[in-house]
């Protein structure tokens, strides 16, 4: 009993997560610790306003764990960040349990569908040769001319490719 209690501080000190968080706090890096979430938050913070957003993922595999994690992180954290605005990643009524179901949903909304849901921007992540490119296009009003593609500096380390401004284009 005495041994067990005496051992406890040593075990706590050896715990990997406790050590990591304590070190991050000690070095004043509490925000850097969740860097990934900040990158995603910053990406979505570049779309202020009250409109909803949509996101699609091209050339990602529903059987690759890294791809599934990437997709889930962006779509789920994005939904959390944007609330009460909506981030659409699948058609209505589809059950999304994670990255796999997003990729299996083959989300290809039409311009009308997006306009009906007050979506004004589509974020398209495209994987090419192991790199992820992001392009953003605006959803235009039904009969108004297209706007120029917007390419905000979104995510560190992810090259941004230009895209044409066609609602619902994959």
């Amino acid at each position: 009993m005495i041994l067990a209690v005496a051992l406890q501080p040593l075990l706590i000190a050896k715990n990997q997560m406790i050590r990591l968080l304590t070190a991050a706090w000690w070095h004043g890096e509490t925000n850097d610790f969740s860097n990934r979430w900040h990158e995603i938050d910053q990406a979505f913070s570049q779309f202020p306003g009250t409109n909803n957003l949509a996101v699609s993922f091209n050339n990602f595999s529903a059987t690759n764990p890294d791809d599934m994690r990437f997709v889930a992180e962006f779509a789920h954290r994005g939904s959390y960040t944007l609330y009460p605005r909506k981030l659409f990643c699948a058609q209505d009524g589809q059950i999304i349990a994670g990255g796999e179901s997003i990729l299996n949903s083959a989300f290809a909304p039409s311009g009308e569908w997006l306009r009906d849901r007050d979506v004004n921007k589509i974020l398209r992540f495209t994987q090419r040769g192991g790199e992820v490119a992001l392009s953003v296009s605006s959803v235009t009003a039904a009969k108004s001319p297209s706007q120029a593609p917007e390419m905000p500096n979104l995510i560190r380390g992810i090259p941004i490719a230009p895209d044409v401004n066609e609602p619902g284009r994959r």
């Binding site: 051992l7 406890q8 050896k14 997560m17 968080l21 959390y80 990643c89 589809q94 349990a97």
Partner: protein, 469 residues
């Protein structure tokens, strides 16, 4: 600066509400300072979460003035009770016996303080990091802060958000939403302030529970073994619901054990509140609430005054059912897109998956023997039960064992019937489930250790003595 002040005011709201509930339930009974503090924190957190939930279902979202109003009503109640002199009788701590004892207590106190300091640091210095804490609990907190539950926010009806488990209980995110409301906006670190608060409450409750059988020094040692286990400390402020569930369930076990020994109706009602809070914290809480009520029925059958015991059990059941029914009724309109374990629970499924039993049992034993995660807690359980077998003569100890076995058995059965890949699921959830059971294990180790100490003449077991502080 001001957000920090508002955060402290939020905690004061919890303390005042908890203080009022505690005074109402403990008036005229003898309680220690530790116990009253633990009850104030834990009952206050649960009561504020439940009240905000009910008010939100009635159509009013959490707000600063709402919480201040609640605190004002609580303060008035406290003052009225004080004026009427209807207060609990306070057991002041006795003087410390010897220098080694004092040194032992001081060093253990330092360790407890360090664990609490770590939980405060991870709560208020870091944003939400943990995946579940963000997509399940943090997301709900944001939704609950933004709008009342009537009319139902779109979040709860969109199956595209199924990963967020739309039908999970709302007590804990409601507390986070309450913190957001008082500080005036979504602030992830300050929203987590309730976690170190609950963690401290859990420590005070465990200490109080074990003091029923042990003197101060070994009681504090048990408290460290239970709440200071590395995995528990790691998860304390991760903003998952597991620590909160463990805290409320610890309270339920402590006061049910005391009810069994002393048959005080106030202890029965306190345990009923804790069971209700647990059931409103996680889905597992609903299942273990049923186990708690089953345990009370079994104890009532064997009680000397069977009728009185069954009346108390009925009161507890009524409180739990009432406390749970509001949310259950509101939840009825939410799409259930997760695995339905209750529907899968059939003899046929168990029979089909019986080959999983050895793997599940080995998985549990391996996890319990994981010294770096649990310290000596689970290893001391069999050792103390053999050496302190005389404690089995105490009804409340037999009850705690029954609860421990049923609780572990329930979780084991879930792994047997799950549609998921069982080893993968165990890898992701087993340690968190063991965390829910850990307080019961700690209480049992305390009771058995008391029997060992009595046997060896080191101390005497005092099952009916109130804790002395």
């Amino acid at each position: 600066m001001m957000t920090g002040v508002w955060c402290i005011i939020f905690l004061l709201c919890i303390v005042l509400t908890g203080g009022a509930v505690t005074l109402l339930l403990t008036a005229g009974t003898r309680r220690s300072l530790c116990e009253l503090s633990g009850l104030t924190i834990t009952l206050g957190s649960g009561a504020v979460g439940m009240l905000l939930l009910w008010i939100s279902i009635a159509g009013i979202k959490p707000g600063r003035w709402l919480l201040l109003g609640l605190a004002a009503v609580a303060l008035i109640l406290i003052l009225v009770r004080a004026r009427q002199k209807r207060m609990p009788l306070l057991n002041l701590p006795s003087p410390l016996a010897s220098i080694p004892n004092t040194l032992g207590l001081a060093s253990m106190g330092l360790l407890i303080a360090a664990a609490i300091a770590y939980s405060i640091m991870t709560a208020v210095e870091f944003p939400l990091i943990n995946w579940d804490a963000i997509v399940i609990w943090g997301f709900k907190a944001k939704v609950l802060y933004a709008a009342a539950l009537s009319p139902r926010p779109w979040y709860f009806t969109d199956p595209r958000l199924s990963y967020s488990h739309l039908d999970y209980p709302l007590l804990l995110p409601m507390l986070q939403a309450g913190a957001y409301a008082v500080v005036g906006g979504v602030n992830e670190p300050l929203g987590k302030v309730v976690f170190p608060f609950l963690f401290t409450g859990q420590m005070l409750l465990i200490y109080t529970g074990v003091r029923q059988w042990l003197s101060r020094t070994p009681a504090m040692a048990i408290c460290i073994l239970t709440c200071g286990a590395p995995f528990v400390v790691e998860l304390a402020s991760s903003a998952n619901a597991d620590m909160a569930l463990a805290t409320f369930w610890a309270g339920a076990m402590i006061y049910l054990a005391r009810w069994i020994e002393e048959r005080g109706i106030s202890d029965a009602i306190i345990s009923a509140l804790f069971i209700t809070f647990a059931a409103n914290t996680k889905n597992e809480g609903i299942a273990i609430a049923a186990i708690g009520l089953l345990g009370m029925c079994i104890v009532s059958f064997t009680a000397k005054s069977r009728r009185a015991a069954f009346i108390d059990t009925g009161i507890v059941a009524a409180v739990v059912i009432t406390g749970l029914s509001v949310w259950i009724l509101w939840r009825a309109g939410i799409p259930h897109t997760d695995e339905n374990y209750l529907a899968r629970f059939s003899w046929q499924t168990v029979e089909t998956n019986r080959s999983r039993f050895p793997g599940v049992i080995i998985g549990f034993l391996r996890a319990m023997a994981d010294l770096p995660s649990w310290g000596g807690l689970w290893l001391l359980l069999p050792i103390s039960s053999v050496l302190g077998f005389k404690a089995f003569q105490i009804t409340s100890v037999r009850f705690l064992w029954l609860m421990l076995v049923l609780h572990l058995g329930l979780y084991g059965l879930i792994y047997v019937i799950t549609p998921w890949e069982v080893q993968e699921l165990m890898k992701n959830s087993l340690y968190r489930l063991l965390m829910h059971v850990a307080p019961t294990a700690g209480l049992i180790v305390g009771a058995q250790l008391a029997a060992v100490l009595t046997e060896t003449g080191i101390a005497t077991v005092a099952t009916s003595d109130r804790p002395k502080g």
